[in-house]
Symmetry: C2
Subunit: 318 residues, 2 copies
């Protein structure tokens, strides 16, 4: 098959691109390097069935041209900075909602009717139902990131109904693993590298979060695509467990053999809009026989190992 | 108080504007006349505490300037053409989602923190839960109209969490009454005026729909604003009943003393994305003692009476 991957130089996008290439598919990758990293494409570029196009999803014409002759779109590009949404409210709307609209329109122009979309568990806001299934009560958004992904989901669903698209909407927990370049493990590792005896923690360390390894994430996305065939397929992607931020710190420090002083903010949330408990009910996917290979602890340790071995990545993010 | 009303020359907006003026409030009305009608402002313009500003919500600067010194925003402007969304997919996104974002940003600039927003029961898509409460299972969108209103709702909610806004999000059934200028009653009346013996019906006449009179709608909006004081207040607004399209035709024909031949499309939906059964559970609002004054039949008859007495309105819409 011929896949179009937006955000192909990003964390999940570059890993997915390599996986699809290894499976023998052709991949047309699209990225504007706003958060994507050129080095993440090096392996992909050794494949003859990989074609990279530098471009911006807000440029409709170049997007539409780039997508020509593809069969299926993996739309992974987006602003993934949940934490700083309030600093630039337009960014989430533009990068997540408008960009998705442009992807849908380019697909329609090119008669491509299948989209696989990276959404987020943040879309459930601060739900009372934990673990949270896909059919949880209609949520109230608590972040611009969640709101913009919700907008994108709604547009995709409307295109499925109106234009006979088929969609896979994946609601991810936080993803870890190789090429991970933002989030608490990244922040903690970077802090400990510059001052191994001190660690500043947003929130009180009691926030409960779920994580999934990027290779499990890709397994899950591809697996769901094989197993489900509705017009709109919404799939939570996570592990059947959660941890506290403090657990994560313990595992990181144990692995690095460090015992920093922990400086907590002593708030229940790490930032405005931070959800103190994210735990998705993934039984829709697991009922088909899928399960992740790594648990949360293994994913965190694997991430620290990756960052230790690829310290240049740390300089790519402030 | 000093209210800012977007879409003040529209169906609901102009009625709300007059109500607020009669209550002694100051109203700054904003409209670009894309679907608003100048004549609908005639009564409002007799009030000294009414100020009209012609402008477009996509023009951020004029919007922000117009809103200065207001206390509360009623955001009623939007594209309300559910049926033709697929003909111009960009329109719903632009007029409902982007316009709402601009309203929120203009509010933030002007330090206005309360928004009352006209959303829609279409947001529930084709839910299995009927009557549908506000906390129905996370819906799947079936129209660009619903998707764009969902996007707007999410943005408003994120602003409530992130910027301490307070919001009233009203999910309306279809609204009828004076100044009603689109929808099936309008279409049927217009048809019967030009050929009283023939009536073409989109769908099979069995679609079940709910309606509310515009004055009840305004009562409900203002009542909810008094009774609820959460950060985010989501309120279904409808009657505790529904009717079939055929019932509506019977009432219209009875009132007009006509017996046209009915030509059905014999599809379960009037158009792609048409929801064959809309019936909202309005107990959140009714539990506070509110109830509409008119039932559906009375609302339909009142609408026909209005159209009969204001036939110039028919020429305003093709």
């Amino acid at each position: 098959m011929r896949f179009f991957v937006t955000g192909c130089a990003g964390f999940i996008g570059s890993n997915l691109t390599e996986r699809l290439l290894h499976m023998g598919h052709t991949v047309v990758g699209f990225d504007n390097f706003s958060t994507g990293i050129k080095e993440f494409l090096q392996t992909a570029q050794t494949f003859s069935n990989f074609k990279f196009i530098e471009g911006d999803l807000l440029n409709k014409e170049s997007l539409s041209t780039a997508m020509q002759t593809c069969d299926t779109v993996f739309h992974l590009a987006g602003n993934a900075d949940v934490r700083h949404g309030l600093l630039h409210p337009h960014k989430d709307l533009e990068q997540n909602a408008l960009a998705t609209f442009n992807v849908l329109e380019a697909m329609r122009t090119n008669k491509i009717f299948e989209i696989c979309f990276a959404s987020t568990g943040s879309i459930y806001g601060e739900t009372d139902i934990i673990p949270t299934p896909e059919h949880a009560p209609f949520p109230i958004q608590t972040s611009l990131y969640g709101a913009s992904k919700l907008a994108a989901e709604g547009l995709i669903q409307a295109y499925c109904e109106g234009f006979n698209f088929k969609s896979y909407i994946y609601r991810f927990v936080s993803i870890l693993g190789e090429r991970y370049t933002h989030g608490h493990v990244f922040d903690f590792y970077k802090q400990l590298l510059s001052h191994p005896d001190q660690l500043t923690i947003l929130g009180n360390g009691k926030q409960k979060k779920s994580y999934l390894h990027v290779q499990d994430c890709i397994d899950g996305m591809l697996w769901a695509r094989e197993k489900f065939s509705n017009k709109v397929n919404i799939i939570n992607l996570g592990t059947a467990e959660y941890c506290q931020v403090d657990d994560s710190i313990n595992w990181i420090c144990e692995h690095l053999k460090l015992s920093p002083q922990r400086n907590y903010a002593n708030t229940t949330r790490g930032w405005v809009g931070d959800n103190p408990f994210i735990f998705l009910d993934c039984s829709r996917l697991s009922s088909t026989g899928w399960k992740p290979k790594k648990n949360i602890q293994e994913s965190i340790v694997a991430t620290i190992q990756y960052l230790s071995q690829h310290q240049w990545v740390l300089d790519k993010r402030t």
